[in-house]
Amino acid sequence: MWNHGIITLLSLLSYNLFANDKVWLEVEQFDNLGGWVVDAQFIDQMGSSYLLAHGLGEPVQSAVTTIKFPSKGKYHLWVRTKDWAPFPTGPGKFHISIGDKIVPKSFGIDGNDEWHWEYGGEIDIDGRKTEISLIDGSGFEGRVDVLYFTKNKNDIPPSSFDELSTLRQSMSKHPNSPVDVGKFDLVVVGGGLAGVCASIQAARLGLSVALVQNRPVLGGNNSSEIRVPLQGDMDHNLFPKIGNIVRELSTGYKGEAGDEKHYGDDLKLEKVKNEKNISLYLSTHVFDVEKDGNTISAAIGRNVITGIVYRFEANYFVDCTGDGTLGYVAGANYKMGRESFEETKEPKAPMFIDSLTLGSTIHWFADEKDTISDFPVCDWAIQFSDDYYLKNTRGAWNWETGFYWNMIDEAEKIRDHKFRVIYGHWSYLKNKMFNEYAKWKLEWMAYNLGKRESRRLVGDVFLTELDIINKVEYEDACVTTKWGIDLHYPNPQNSQYYPGEEFIAIADHDRDFEPYHFPYRCLYSNNIENLFMAGRNISVSHIALGTVRVMNTTGMMGEVVGVAAYLSAKYNCTPREVYQNHLDEFLSMLEN
């Protein structure tokens, strides 16, 4: 298990390459991160983890590291960063100190909201061993990816994703080939409820399992990083024993945005560690696969801190990433957005296919203290007014945004938009309604986006609203949902004031919902022969996702997939062939 305590040791294996005239410094590998946090959510979009000054408006403690320059002399400093809220310029200001000198330039506030290189000027290095600090200026989400020192004035680092990736790889001390961690019966990618349940189920049935999770904790949306409770009735199951592993992992807490301890990070970790057949790889992001025809032979993942690339070979794979990342890179068929009425004939479907999805949430809360505190006016944030303001002191399910934006490619934009909403809201309460909120203080805010919907991988059955309302019975029915089709849309009043960038949702939620048992054939890819899926990325339409997406249900999917994986391994067959040739045994195992 990786944790930040090991990061210090692993800095020896870092990306800090020293040629004669250049130094490449991945900041997530700093010796001491101070108050900065590692943000690894957007690696596939911007190329790397980065450090985020997530200070809720109070400057965070500096991140510090000591490096050895290859030689004395003048180096040109380049810093990869962005102005995340250029309205007109954002608050994410930071400085860099090198030795005992602070670089004069303020970084992260130049109005450019794409990741780009900012030139820090010429730096005189007079001693080889030099301490470098990232000095946060505001506590408002300044961010930095890499520092590049070069003696060559014309050595301007590239901006394109591919060129930068090539440069990053060339500057790495790690071997070009991935480190092979061995062969498993099953590789589960994604450590939310679905992935943890799939792993435990498969391990208990005797399979060797690699569980690869790109966060330092397990639980996904139910972890302390995001703080969404487990929901979904498990007492009307077709197979009553399905759900038992979910129950083992549950603390019983039903609140949103609650205290960290309620979400059971340690409980989940303990459960996984207790399974001798599971090898756990935290903070490891799968970004590629090796294939043999339509079969995945290995998943390739990079540790988001050290940068070391690993190869996970297996006979079977499960995509529990939520975003369908494993399936996507493997070439699995997938869908995203709303299917058209012409395609699905669902009563709730739009005329034409469009890209609207359910929104994402950043939870937060404030507490009332004994003393008065202030909070800055945030001109760069979303503005509220006497005509429209909210009075929340904590987040709720309906603080939701990103409906019209791409939940994967624009995820950072969505997350940052929510930052602007929360900070703008808090700024309004603290400055315009000071008497009422004088003693309230922002205590916690997530920085990991809690997504509800993005890619959905396609299986042999593509479940739609029609299946549910017509109560279609499948012979391979295996998981029961009783949540009701729960679809979220931008709140109309919120839309009036913030068209196109809404951040409050309404729900169309059918609460008079009879239990519906959906089929196993939604849980494996229809074109990648050894790929299962579980979670919010299964084979359902946008509308049908509204009922299956809650985490008790996704956890149960994981349990079922674990059983199917066992049978696949037993009979050396594909997931599809479990349905075709071993359905009775499969259902019998779910029963017992």
């Binding site: 007492d235 129950r247 549950s250 807490y253 739009p350 839309s495 169309d508």
Partner: protein, 358 residues
């Protein structure tokens, strides 16, 4: 003969802290009616369900004096208290007798916080207690759940310790099942036995929200009344009372077919409701097979004025049928106007639709 209670906990929709005095309870305007009722599981209780009926002949509350044994960890005791339901069978409160407080396993009397917690538990229609058998009542109060499953065998969360009164789990269990079990069923049977068109009219005219809601739900459950009452129920979507309006919308959502009268009633409701309700009405209309031309035209007008949102317009245009595009049809003509709307999302979607229909 009733004795005055030490504490009455009465549910109000406004605040749990609002407590009516016992004298108010029994001195409300109306007539007390006694319904004979006996159940084997509750055989020691007075075999009567009391009803206070208002001047309009509608029930104000139902009540029952409960005298029943509860066994906590092998030791049995009697509980003696009043349970009350509102005029439509929703839990309303309880009344403990002055010299008969509720007690815990250690014989300690309930304190105010305990009664408050009990009241909260009894208001929860979906309590975890619903799914448990008596032999499954084991409360694990340890704070360290690391590596352990909660100590009761039922699937349901949250754990019991979070919802019951400490050291009184069987009392809580017994009372919850009394509130939501056979007694409530009997109250509902009494209500249902009175069901008629005239009774429904009186309920809908009542100023009590629970009467209106019960009436709406009865119309849903009894299709024979729908022809007569659908329009009246739809009109209640415009109610200032959000719960009544919500019940009205929920009823309307169950109707597979809305004739032109009802569709126009819905259309007429739209200007009078808030944005969220308007959205819900729109979604109701969008799911109908056949929508009246006047309704379609009205909705397109709202699109033109950008009162409706683009993700909804993508569903709204499903209402357009081929005959709407025939020459001279006002809907077709309106779509031509929308195809040049200044908002590119409207114009582009309209043009795309018109092209698809050619």
């Amino acid at each position: 003969m009733l004795r005055y209670g030490l504490v009455i906990w009465i549910l109000t929709y406004a605040s749990l802290s609002q407590v009516k005095s016992q004298s108010e309870y029994w001195t409300m305007d109306g007539t007390i009616i006694k319904h004979d009722y006996y159940h084997f599981s509750d055989s020691l209780s007075e075999p009567i369900i009391y009803e206070l009926q208002g001047k309009d002949g509608l029930p104000v509350w139902f009540g029952r004096k409960v005298y029943k044994d509860v066994c906590e960890t092998g030791e049995c005791k009697m509980i003696d208290l009043w349970l009350f339901w509102d005029g439509t069978g929703n839990y309303h409160g309880f009344q403990v007798l002055e010299d008969e407080p509720l007690t815990k396993t250690d014989h300690a009397a309930f304190q105010d916080d305990d009664y408050r917690r009990l009241h909260e538990l009894l208001t929860d229609t979906n309590s975890v207690l619903r799914f448990l058998n008596q032999d499954e009542l084991v409360v694990d109060t340890s704070t360290n759940t690391l590596g352990k499953v909660d100590a009761y065998t039922s699937a349901t969360q949250p754990s019991l310790s979070q919802v019951v009164v400490k050291d009184a789990v069987y009392t809580c269990y017994t009372l919850w099942h009394l509130v939501y079990g056979h007694l409530r069923n009997e109250i509902l049977r009494i209500m249902n036995s009175r069901l008629s068109a005239e009774y429904l009219d009186r309920l809908l005219m009542s100023n009590k929200e629970e009467h209106k809601i019960w009436a709406i739900q009865s119309v849903t459950k009894n299709p024979q009344y729908q022809n007569e009452f659908n329009k009246k129920v739809i009109h209640l979507i415009t109610s200032d009372n959000a719960r009544v309006a919500n019940a009205a919308i929920q009823h309307t959502q169950t109707l597979i077919h809305l004739d032109s009268v009802l569709q126009i009633e819905l259309l007429n409701a739209m200007p009078e409701v808030d944005l969220n309700t308007k959205h819900r009405i729109l979604r109701l209309l969008l799911q109908l097979k056949d929508v009246e031309d006047v309704v379609v035209l009205n909705i397109l007008g709202q699109v033109a004025h950008q009162n409706i949102f683009m993700y909804e317009y993508n569903s709204i245009i499903r209402l357009i049928k081929p005959h709407h595009l025939q020459e001279g049809n006002p809907i077709g003509e309106y779509l031509e106007i929308l195809s040049t709307h200044k908002n590119p999302m409207i114009s582009n979607l309209t043009r795309k639709f018109l092209a698809s229909m050619k």
